[in-house]
């Protein structure tokens, strides 16, 4: 009996305690509501009014819309597929039409799970709460924010009908891939209006807002389809669809619209473009100004660039024995610039934008290796009066460096081949000759030429600059090589032609200005030497792959095969391709042989250029009036003694000796049989 009385006492105690606590909680709650209410945001009326913001549009060079930033307009609820509305309600908040902003039972359950089952997360937000959060609050999870969000949700419910709430919700919800609002998402993923969505499509879209990146169907179709099936089952559970409809919809394969994926995959370009626009006009104008930007990007070339780079990097993976499961893959970048204007036609800054948004085309500073030699040879021709037929010796070189150890550059093949003309030295990429030249001309002069051509990254005035030890970006190198493609004329590279405001009034226009920065005849001499790189030098894989147009270029491979480049051009288009690891790891194949620019980057370049130029007429580089051609014996630097074949190069046995003949362009005052000048002559030149 005493025990029973004790239990009764206990019950009485807890009953009264509970009542007191509930009362106190009620009072505290009311106080909290009054206290918090004054800081809550004002709600617009109607709710959808402020969801609209002017749409900034970015157009490709062919006038197609590349991407849009912002929401164009809201669409009425009756223009949204019923299936989608059912799907989103079934998935996100199946009691939407019953509650007043708060699903109490679900909230209690979520609270229980949060408190007593650590590690598990249970969502309990109603559609109204999600709307409140999306419209007014940051995504920072705090209890205060959750409480405010709840209060705003209650006000939204009190001041709007369920239809108005749903209308606002479906028009502002984010689906990923740049699509905000159901109409935009429907156009983005299925190229149809929101009211045309079928059950399976509607369910797929309704599954995306939970995690737009993870369920992005362009990237993870399997995950998106699994999520769609969950949505469909939920719809069946709630009673929106029958089992038959469920089975039919689950059986359907989604037919995604892929045309717009290019703009997303090419987002490296968009990122670069948007950064430039922000720098020029500020974020408000770019993201909220409703401007129209007419970019330089050629969607066709951009698509080819993506294909070529992807294919090339997969080939590189295979060469290196890297599987898809491996965590680290080599990266790549490609930049293509219209030589005649400086307009950037294609830009890919990495292997996969969705895995790494770091734009290697513009922001990655890497050593160009021998890709820097054209600037060196130009300096030598300009300053020392050398020409492609000047003879120099490939020999061991030791260059004393003030305050540092002597510099002993090595050739790629670690052998020395004796006398040769400079044309051959470039296409064979002979480092010892490059080193001798930079010693004569000075690194400062070489850097000056590079800067004149548009290289803006800091360049060190050290001898090794001749072998490309100063970091540059693929964008810079592509732009600088266009100067050679134009025989000395610089066009500033640019990403957009025109910017207009929402009413079509022009805010900015790019004017293509020409600036002569190099001597055309000397530039032509360097171009002719760079043509040989493709014809018989380190880039000859390009011709083997079927690219037979007149083109010039230079490979670049840095120490320990950390970077492999090919930058080349036709008179129309200049393209730079870089491959390598982000962490400067060695590019080495399965046979432990280092991978050069000629093996990794040049095939990507060739593949891209063949596709990009297929509709362009074939044209060679114009020969300046003051250029004449002469044949030269590559070992003597003089006219060949016996000449039988009227081709640019031939090898013939003269006794036991091979005679190699090349054709070199010379200026009127230049003659063959020019040995590198003795010191006195150099001094005379300097005095002049």
């Amino acid at each position: 009996m005493n025990l029973f009385l004790s239990v009764l006492k206990l019950i009485r105690f807890f009953l009264f305690l509970g009542l007191i606590l509930v009362s106190l909680a009620g009072i505290a709650g009311m106080f909290l509501v009054f206290y918090t209410a004054k800081d809550l945001p004002q709600l617009p009326s109607p709710l959808s009014r402020i969801i609209e913001r002017p749409q900034t549009r970015i157009y490709a060079a062919n006038g197609k819309v590349l991407t849009t930033i912002g929401v164009r307009k809201t669409i009425p609820l009756n223009m949204v597929s019923r299936d989608f509305i059912n799907a989103i309600i079934a998935t996100e908040d199946h009691r939407f039409f019953e509650h007043h902003g708060l699903n109490k039972l679900r909230t209690l359950k979520a609270l229980y799970i949060t408190l007593f089952k650590p590690g598990r997360v249970q969502g309990a937000s109603t559609i109204t709460q999600q709307l409140a959060k999306n419209l007014f609050f940051s995504f920072r999870q705090t209890y205060q924010r959750k409480f405010k969000e709840l209060l705003v949700a209650l006000q939204i419910e009190a001041a709007n009908t369920k239809e108005e709430i749903l209308h606002a919700y479906v028009n502002q919800i984010y689906f990923g891939a740049g699509a905000q609002g159901i109409e935009r998402a429907s156009r983005q993923f299925f190229n149809k209006s929101a009211h045309e969505l079928e059950l399976s499509e509607a369910a797929l879209l309704a599954g995306l807002p939970k995690s737009p990146t993870n369920y992005n169907p362009y990237r993870h179709l399997d995950r998106a389809v699994k999520r769609r099936d969950i949505v469909l089952r939920r719809m069946a559970q709630v009673g929106f669809i029958s089992d038959l409809e469920l089975q039919q919809a689950m059986f359907e394969e989604p037919e995604l619209y892929h045309e717009k994926t290019d703009s997303r995959t090419g987002s490296y370009f968009q990122d670069a473009l948007i950064s430039q626009l922000i720098e020029k006009y500020g974020e408000d104008v770019v993201f909220h100004g409703g401007i129209k930007v007419f970019s330089t990007i050629d969607t066709r070339l951009q698509s080819y660039a993506r294909q070529s780079l992807t294919k090339g990097l997969e080939r590189l993976d295979a060469m290196m024995g890297i599987n898809s499961e491996d965590s680290e893959h080599p990266q790549g970048a490609l930049v293509a610039i219209d030589a005649g204007s400086g307009a950037v036609k294609a830009l890919i800054g990495g292997r996969d934008y969705y895995k790494s948004e770091f734009n290697r085309a513009i922001n990655s500073l890497r050593q160009p290796g021998s890709g820097f030699k054209p600037f060196l040879y130009y300096s030598a021709f300009k300053t020392l009066g050398f020409h492609p037929g000047t003879i120099m010796t490939d020999k061991p070189v030791i260059i004393p460096v003030k305050g540092s150890a002597d510099w002993e550059p090595q050739n790629f093949g670690k052998i020395f081949t004796g006398d040769m003309v400079l044309k051959k030295a470039l296409f064979k990429s002979v480092n010892t000759i490059a080193a001798q030249i930079v010693e004569k001309v000075g690194p400062h002069e070489v850097n000056n030429i590079a800067r004149r051509c548009g290289i803006t990254s800091p360049l060190k005035d050290v001898y090794s600059v001749a072998l490309g030890t100063s970091d540059v970006t693929p964008f810079e190198l592509a732009s600088a090589y266009t100067v050679f493609a134009n025989l000395g004329i610089l066009h500033e590279p640019f990403l957009f032609w025109r910017v207009e405001d929402a009413f079509g009034r022009i805010i900015f226009e790019h004017i293509v200005q020409e600036k002569r920065v190099l001597d055309p005849a000397i530039a032509y001499q360097v171009v002719d030497m760079m043509k040989s790189v493709i014809q018989r030098g380190s880039g000859r894989s390009i011709q083997k792959l079927g690219f037979n147009r007149p083109a010039a270029g230079k490979t670049g491979t840095t120490d320990h095969y950390k970077d492999a480049w090919f930058t080349g051009f036709t008179p129309f288009l200049c393209t730079s391709v870089w491959t390598g690891f982000d962490k400067k790891k060695t590019l080495i194949d399965i046979n432990h042989v280092g991978i050069t620019g000629g093996r990794s980057a040049a095939p990507i370049w060739a593949d891209f250029m063949m596709k990009a130029l297929k509709s362009e007429p074939e044209r060679d580089f114009p020969i300046p009036d003051n250029i004449r051609f002469e044949k030269v014996d590559t070992r003597t630097g003089c006219s060949p003694v016996e000449e039988t074949m009227p081709v640019e190069r031939h090898e013939s046995y003269k006794g036991n000796k091979i005679v190699e003949v090349l054709q070199v362009p010379l200026k009127p005052e230049q003659n063959l049989c020019l040995k590198e000048k003795p010191e006195e002559m150099e001094q005379e030149l300097e005095i002049q």
């Binding site: 009996m1 029973f4 009385l5 009764l8 009485r12 009542l19 509930v22 509501v33 209410a37 004054k38 800081d39 809550l40 945001p41 004002q42 709600l43 617009p44 402020i50 969801i51 913001r53 002017p54 509650h99 007043h100 902003g101 708060l102 109490k104 999306n134 419209l135 007014f136 609050f137 940051s138 209060l151 705003v152 209650l154 006000q155 939204i156 419910e157 009190a158 001041a159 006009y281 500020g282 974020e283 408000d284 104008v285 993201f287 909220h288 100004g289 409703g290 401007i291 204007s341 032609w497 405001d501 009034r505 805010i507 226009e509 790019h510 004017i511 293509v512 200005q513 020409e514």
Partner: protein, 291 residues
Amino acid sequence: MTRQWYEPLSFFEWLKRAFSFLNIAVFMITAIFLFSELRFDWFENVVGSYLASSNESRPKTGIIWETGKHTTNAHEYLNTIINEKEDIQANVHGASSFSSLVSGILPGAWVTLEKDHFKTLYFSLEKTMAAKILDPAQLIWLLKGSMLDRIFCEGITGGVKIYFIDSENRVIKQIELENQDTLELEKGKQAVTGELSEMEGFLGRIYSAQKFFDAVFKLPTDILPDLMVNSEILLEQKGKIINVGIWNITQDGYIKLGFEFEEMDSKKVVFIKGREWAVWQLNLYLKGDEN
């Protein structure tokens, strides 16, 4: 009178007290309170209605209002750009001379210039002065023979750059006008008050009128039109030439000649130009006389 509370002494008394009217009432009220909330969501309604009633007094904060502010900022900024551009366009449209064109465009600003307007400004200059801006043959080529689409003016510090561009926005021809130059060109017929010796550029090359003309008449007569290209200006001046100076800089194949006039007590200098090679020949005679 107070009643001392005591603990129930029996189980029945416990039950009696537990199911007292007050307890049942409190329990019922609490239950009704809770179930009515679950059923009718009155708490949500009351709070929601209260918040709706105080809506107007609350701040416009939060992501979506911020977005609205950004939009307003963006439009204000864009309108500023457009308004400035329209003002400059209006200035340029009303420009009746190259100097007013130059002064109407701020550094960094740009506007398009109608082809006819450029022609009007060009032809408003005296022929030789106009040729200094653009050779007539080049103008003919630009307007009638080239792929010219538009003329584009960009303000730079102290002047303006004029771009003749084709339909692909490529610059066909570019000229740069400095404010001082345009003023000088337009004042070509006017005299500058002062003496040659006070002007930079003539030092050591000032000759008396007698000496200058003596040397001139030693030259073959067919050279004279090239020596003094726009000499009619000199005839329009009042006063007498006392000194002549030769400028020390060549511009576009011409050298400036300064003629110092004296009228009453005032002195002024009038400039004309001569072809470089003709002036060079004259110089030989002038220097020869000195020797």
